[in-house]
Symmetry: C2
Subunit: 371 residues, 2 copies
């Protein structure tokens, strides 16, 4: 790849051609299923990537107020902030709304619904709220059959200055599935759960226009999304070793990697200048039949070196061992690329992407890290 | 703590009073042992912290070229860059030296010694190089009894424009010790190894002024450092749950924590707005008898809530469960603090410290992240 030799390592690479193909595949998939696509920018945290995914002002999802403010400043006006809102964060959300941004928040308790309802008028007369629905018992949300669901919907539906945008689930349980059939079954249970929540609210006479579900692997494997209005996948843009292990992509679909230099040899392998910070400490692939350590190793052109994995890391060092091709006499300074276990976590250590296209470095795109 | 209510969560807190006590304790310890202190700024990545540790221009250690350039720009002129240098990084190191910064690099191979020797004149006539010595077989360095040690020393000692600064070890094996006696024994083996390397080089008639060893727990537990000229501890400044588990500090000595808000309840606990990004995915405490999950939980004033731990995380969510005090009816928006497993990794997700002293927020200090 022309131009990578000039980058200071470790550096985050993004293959724009692979990214474009991943975006197109999900676009076609959601069109076929007849649902809207509101991609989650928690993975990419990039205006350039968001624009490729949904155009200059498409609907997006974010995971932090910092992202909400960043994308709003760059022209995005339809934003779901999909981490439970707190009383102290309502003013920042309302401030965006007063600037004409349709910033939508989520909550999952009678307590917080009451706070939002009470604050809406005081904050300028307008909040848009999704109710988070719990489909797998793993994190947040109200179970579809809980009496609290209708109570929350009632509070929000009756509050002046509050628009109930709909119900929203995040099926993190998809990450515990193995293989596309298991994922499809999980996606169906998520779909049924969040649709049931919407129908319960509607049956109580309360308007519930939106029905949103999330998680890249579930959405990618879903065979029907009847009753869903929009989906919020995120990591599908970049893919990673864990997604490949789940069966929803190939290794060739992974758009991000960490460019690294060999800095020497350990007793058992090569030492890289990419360690726990540059690669992240994510070990999600430990739960897969084919454990990738802290990442799989490619040459500088992106060709996989069979059996080479980052076996252990310290803050700025990665140790590569090989169960395949011998590591041999790799020279100090040799450039390699490491495919990430979990793209969201690996990308978060870097403040920018070095963008590749057609075999060369073509751009730098900034990321919006932090909170 | 006055002022924390105004911080957007998650946010990184640094207790300056605890930090000052940690710094003073290490200063006294190294004075008693008669060795120089060249603290490693890879943990703090902060000019303000470095200044507290060694004054406005004391000797420091860094882990990235970005840190080297940042500290140089803020007046530090005696800097060891303690991650193996590569051919492509030599020009940046030489550029700092031409600006009057005594930037010292490290290497551990005949190959790289030859490159450095060949490049020194071309790069402006001056490089300062430490030879990395391997004392535990875990990462980089040349074993003290390897013939390569004298070969590298010979190449560097004879090269015009190269100053051999000394030998340097990083006893990462200290992290595998349990208890101060085991740490003291490990520190003694590290000391003996790196001193043996220096003596072998001197016996060959080559000047080897510096003998440097690293790692906070080893240095903290060391009972004698005969033959060592300087030490490079880093995490001792902040301490963390892993260091406490090793026995080298108490929980009260931990100077950093992540301020977080309760955003709701899961089926089994509380949900925080601090997840794998804000806390890091470090699970080093899993190897200790007392596993801290992804961190231990305190109230907003820093008082430990017995038995409360962050049991699991996703990108922006942490789930707190309790084996002690019941979690009860903690309100949404309640501020808590999470003590880190590994301060270096947790701090790296944040671009600044919110500094506490005397029970209130007194400053913001920036960090130098990235490469």
């Amino acid at each position: 790849v022309r131009g990578v030799q000039r980058l200071r390592t470790p550096a985050l690479l993004l293959d724009r051609d692979v990214l474009a193909a991943n975006l197109e595949r999900m676009r076609r998939h959601t069109e076929r299923l007849g649902v809207g696509l509101r991609p989650h920018l928690k993975t990419a945290k990039s205006v350039d990537v968001a624009t490729m995914a949904v155009g200059h002002n498409g609907p997006i999802t974010v995971s932090t107020l910092a992202e909400a403010e960043h994308f709003a400043a760059h022209g995005f006006t339809d934003i779901v902030y999909a981490v439970g809102i707190t009383p102290a964060k309502l003013p920042a959300a309302a401030a965006l709304r007063r600037r004409g941004i349709d910033l939508q928040v989520i909550l999952d308790s009678v307590e917080m619904a009451g706070v939002a309802a009470g604050a809406a008028e005081h904050l300028g007369g307008s909040l848009a709220v999704w109710i988070e629905v719990d489909v797998d018992g793993l994190r947040s949300g109200i179970p579809p059959d809980s009496p609290a669901l209708l109570e929350v919907a009632g509070v929000l539906g009756a509050a002046p200055g509050v628009r109930l945008a709909g119900v929203l689930s995040h099926g993190g349980g998809s990450y515990r599935c193995r293989g596309v059939d298991a994922l499809a079954a999980f996606a169906e249970s998520e779909r049924a759960g969040v649709v049931a929540a919407a129908e319960a609210i509607r049956a109580a006479g309360i308007d519930c226009p939106g029905v949103s579900m999330g998680s890249s692997p579930g959405v990618a494997a879903a065979r029907s999304l009847d009753g869903i209005t929009e989906v919020r996948p995120g990591v599908y843009m970049f893919q990673d070793l864990f997604q490949a292990g789940l069966g929803v992509c190939d290794l060739d679909d992974i758009a991000v990697s960490v460019l690294t230099s060999v800095i020497g040899r350990s007793r058992d392998g090569l030492v890289l200048d990419a360690g726990g910070l540059a690669l992240s400490l994510d070990r999600s692939t430990a739960a897969l039949p084919d454990d990738s350590g802290f990442g799989r190793v490619c040459d500088a052109s992106g060709r996989l070196l069979p059996g080479w994995t980052v076996e252990r890391v310290t803050q700025e060092h990665g140790i590569v061992t090989s169960s395949g091709d011998p590591i041999g006499s790799t020279q100090t300074g040799t450039l390699l690329r490491v495919l990430p276990n979990h793209a969201c976590m690996t990308a978060a250590a870097h403040d920018r992407y070095h963008v590749l296209s057609g075999g060369r470095v073509v751009a730098q795109w900034p990321r919006c890290n932090g909170w």
